[in-house]
Amino acid sequence: MKLTMDIMKRHLQLLMMVLAITLMPLSLSASESSGQEGEMDVKEFIFEHIGDGYEWHITTVGNTHVSLPLPIIVYSRTSGWQTFLSSRLTHGESYEGLRIATGGDYKGKVVETLPTGEEVRPLIDISLTKIALGILINSLLLAGIILYISRWYRTHTYRDNAPKGFTGVMEMLIMSIYDGVIKPSIGKDSERFAPYLLTAFFFIFLSNLMGLLPIFPGGANVTGNIAVTLSLAICTFLAVNLFGTREYWKEILWPEVPTWMKCPVPLMPVIELFGIFTKPFALTVRLLANIMAGHSVILALVCIIFITHRMGAVLGGSMTVVSVLFSIFMNFLELLVAFIQAYVFTMLSAVFIGMARVKSEKSQNS
């Protein structure tokens, strides 16, 4: 925990520094040459890269955008289910009354125009967006890797020598999480919860690493998206509360505190019930903020190059060196963060599950 706090603090410091560096020339350039063609909007650039989209932008060569169009799957109020490629909606074109909003509340999202002229989101939008595709790629990769190494265990017995190479590395990683995090936190029932916790760990770790890759199939900011972290936190929430023992619920609804704190006004139960929901919320936000901050910092550092080059070759050249050095440093830091955040998420989930598996002292003694 302390480590995470340190890293978050460090992130914050770096972010401040980078923002100071990036915003200064931005304001300068804004005052000097506002409205110029080709001016760079750093904020939009960063949010476009760490956000979601209906197409997977790979690169831009000259003025041609090379991107992967992705399927849009929506249920429209007027025309029912619609499935088509996002290439039909580029440059603000509309298809079957659907288009991608360029501004307003739903900027960048598919909207439909009602007969009244109002623009609303379709009822259901399960388009395979950039991050959704990233989730699928990471899931397939994860399943592939784990099933690949588990084949070794199917074809060998425990009397054989330990595996070498990639399988050996994965075994070391899996067992360090299993023995170092899951077993101490959960104890007796660890075998039951280990598959979920290990899947969560490797999903987060793999997604973090894939997010650090700059081009397709990496680069989707999967673990920096609130829907993803929220889903993972919901899974932990379910694992904690569905398998909570009677003692766990007793400690929440009727904790051992003086009676006036729980009888006329259920003060402690309310606080405890609130705590049930703050735990997954903390899990959600911690992972999201860490990964998003890391990506933002790296992108901001890259932006420095383009911004300072407008202000002169000397400044641009020197800042390029600084920016590249910082980017390299940040990438290494992000590698560390990729592991630490996956580890922290798994550890906290395991601790929460372990806390919900408490046995009363009577049954422990018997």
Binding site: I124, D125, L128, A132, I135, I146, E171, Y178, L198, T199
Partner: protein, 167 residues
Amino acid sequence: MPDSGLLFWMLLSFGVVLFVLAKFGFPVITRMVDDRKRYIDQSLDAAREANEKLANIKQESERILMEARNEQMNILKEAAATRDQIVKEAREKAHAESQRIMEEARLQILKEKENTLREIRFQTAELSMLVAEKIMRHKLEDEHQQMELVERLVEEAQNGMAKEKKD
């Protein structure tokens, strides 16, 4: 706000991955590594036990060797004692035997001697009888002398009988 479409995709794919890996992935791996761990522990225990056994066996064998050596010494000692005794007994026996043989020989010799003496005596008596006969024949040519001798013989014989009765 979290996007509902993304939530859908995430929960779906994560759920599927979780199901697949919980069924075919992680339990296989963790169970086997646990088994291997247990197996290694057992093997270590077995090795330790075997070492202890080996040490015990070594001690045992040394003890047995010592015992065997002692036994050997005892047997040798006993054998020597037996041999000495046998030799002694044989010697004693031989001595006794020789003694007996000597005794027998002596007795034989004594007997032979007696026999010889008796024979000599007998022959001497015979010879003297012959000589005496010849002398008597020569002397008892007259009657008188014959009577005198008879009387004397009778007397002698009576004396002899009386003497025998007395005895």
